[in-house]
Symmetry: C2
Subunit: 227 residues, 2 copies
DNA sequence: CCGAATCCTTATTGATACTG
DNA sequence: CAGTATCAATAAGGATTCGG
C-alpha cells in the first residue's frame, strides 16, 4: 500500500508496482541470502526507518513475495523468508548488481566489503553453472572469517550462510581483493590473479570451481567473457 | 537530485541510487526503443507529471545515462537518447519484464497491447541470438499496422521503429495473441501455435526466426525452455 | 532484546496552470 | 512543443515509545 500503481499494461510497470518502492529491492536482496529476522534486516539495511521496514515487509507479504515464518517454540521468533515468487527476483537483483559493478569504486580494504555482498557480487553474479562438469556440487567459501556454502543443484547456484561438513572445494577468499578483481575486470584485462586460496578439493574440483565462477588466472591474450 | 542515496557499498544499491526513483526505469524502457522527444515520452508514460519527466531526464543526463540530441536545423528539435551506459540497462529492464510477465493478466484484445510492449515483452525478452545460424540479420515485424525492425548484429538484437526495405523475414504478428502466448506459456505447455504470419522470407530464414524468438509450434512432449 | 507503532518534520510526488 | 511554476497531497526520515 505504499506507492501508487503505474496503471500500465506492461510487465515492467507491473514489476515496478510490486518492488519499485524505495528499500523494497534491498530487502529482497538481503532475503536472497536466506531467511532473516527483523533485526537482521535492520542491521544490513542501515538507515531504514523501522516503520518503513515493517511496512515494506507487510507489503511484500501481502503480495506473496515474502512469508513470515515462526520458528518452533524454544526460541520462538519470527523470520522473514522469500516465497518462490520472491526468489525468482534473483535475476532482477543480479542484473542490477552487474550493472552497478562497473560504477562501483574499488574497495579500500576488507572492511568495506560485507561478506554477503562479496558472495553475491563477487561470485554469484559471475556464476556459470553450465561450465560445471555436471552433477551437484557443494562449495564452501570463507570470507575473512565468515563461511558461506554454495550449492550447485540442478543447474542453479544457491547460497547459505555458514558451512557444511563435506564440500567439494573449500576456499578462502579475501573480499576486497575479489571485488577489486571484479570491478576492474568487468571488461578487458584482468590485472591480478584472483585472491583465492584453496584449502580443500581435488585438482579437478578446484579447476571446475574456478571455471564456474570465472576465477581462472588471466589468459595471456585478450579474454572475451562468454555470455 | 531526486532521491537520497542509500549510501551502501553495494552495486545493487548503487544502481538503485541511479535508477531507483519512481518513473526513471520506465523512461529508460521507452528510450530503449530509440531516441524520443519529450512529448513522445509523455504519451507513452501516461500519468507522469511534466515536471517529474523533466527532472528525471535531467537526472539521467547528469548521470551519463541519457543524452540530449538536437536534430539538424530544418526541424530543430530535441530528442533524448540513451548513452552506452544507459543501453546497458537493457538487461535490467528485461529481467523486470520477464518477472512481471507471469503476473500479467492475458490481454483482452489488441487495444490492450502497445506495439512497443509487444516487441519487448513478446519478442526481445525471449530472444536467443545464439540460436541464429550466425551472421547478421534484419527482420521486420508488423504489429497491427505498426512496423518494427529488429537487427541481429554481433550477437545482440536491437530494435527500431519503422521498417527497412530489405529484410530476411517479414512477419505480421497480432499483439494480443502473442502476449497471451507468452503469459500463458511462460512455464509449461503452450496452448496455441503462436500467431505469426510470415509475409516474406525463405523457409530457413523463417525457421531461424522462430527459433531465435522461441516461436516454434508446440512440441508434442513437454518442452523445457533452455536457458 | 525483538518487532514493531506513534509522532512529527522534511522531501518527493502529483495535478494543474502557465510560459518562452 | 518543451518545458517551469505553484501548491496540495503523500511518502520518507528520524526519534522515541511500547508491548511481549
Amino acid at each position: 500500500m505504499a506507492n501508487k500503481s503505474y496503471e500500465q499494461y506492461c510487465p515492467v510497470a507491473l514489476t515496478l508496482d510490486a518492488i519499485g518502492d524505495r528499500w523494497t529491492l534491498l530487502i529482497v536482496r538481503e532475503l536472497l541470502n536466506g531467511p532473516q529476522r527483523y533485526s537482521d534486516l535492520q542491521t544490513s539495511l542501515p538507515g531504514i526507518p523501522p516503520n518503513l521496514l515493517a511496512s515494506r515487509l507487510r507489503d511484500l507479504e501481502s503480495d506473496g513475495l515474502v512469508e513470515r515464518q515462526t520458528l518452533p517454540p524454544p526460541a520462538a521468533r519470527t523470520v522473514f523468508a522469500l516465497t518462490a515468487d520472491g526468489r525468482d527476483l534473483e535475476r532482477v537483483v543480479r542484473s542490477l548488481g552487474r550493472w552497478g559493478l562497473r560504477r562501483l569504486p574499488p574497495p579500500e580494504d576488507d572492511g568495506d566489503v560485507e561478506p554477503g555482498m562479496a558472495v553475491r557480487s563477487g561470485l554469484l553474479t559471475f556464476a556459470q553453472p553450465r561450465l560445471a562438469d555436471g552433477g551437484d556440487r557443494t562449495w564452501v567459501v570463507i570470507f575473512g572469517d565468515e563461511p558461506y556454502t554454495l550449492f550447485l543443484e540442478s543447474g542453479r547456484v544457491r547460497t547459505q550462510r555458514g558451512r557444511v561438513e563435506r564440500a567439494d572445494v573449500v576456499a578462502r577468499i579475501r573480499p576486497a581483493a575479489l571485488l577489486r578483481h571484479r570491478v576492474a575486470g568487468e571488461k578487458g584485462a584482468r590485472r591480478s590473479r584472483p585472491p583465492v586460496t584453496f584449502l580443500e578439493g581435488s585438482e579437478e574440483k578446484v579447476a571446475e570451481f574456478e571455471r564456474v565462477f570465472d576465477l581462472a588466472a588471466p589468459a595471456p591474450s585478450a579474454v572475451t567473457t562468454p555470455r
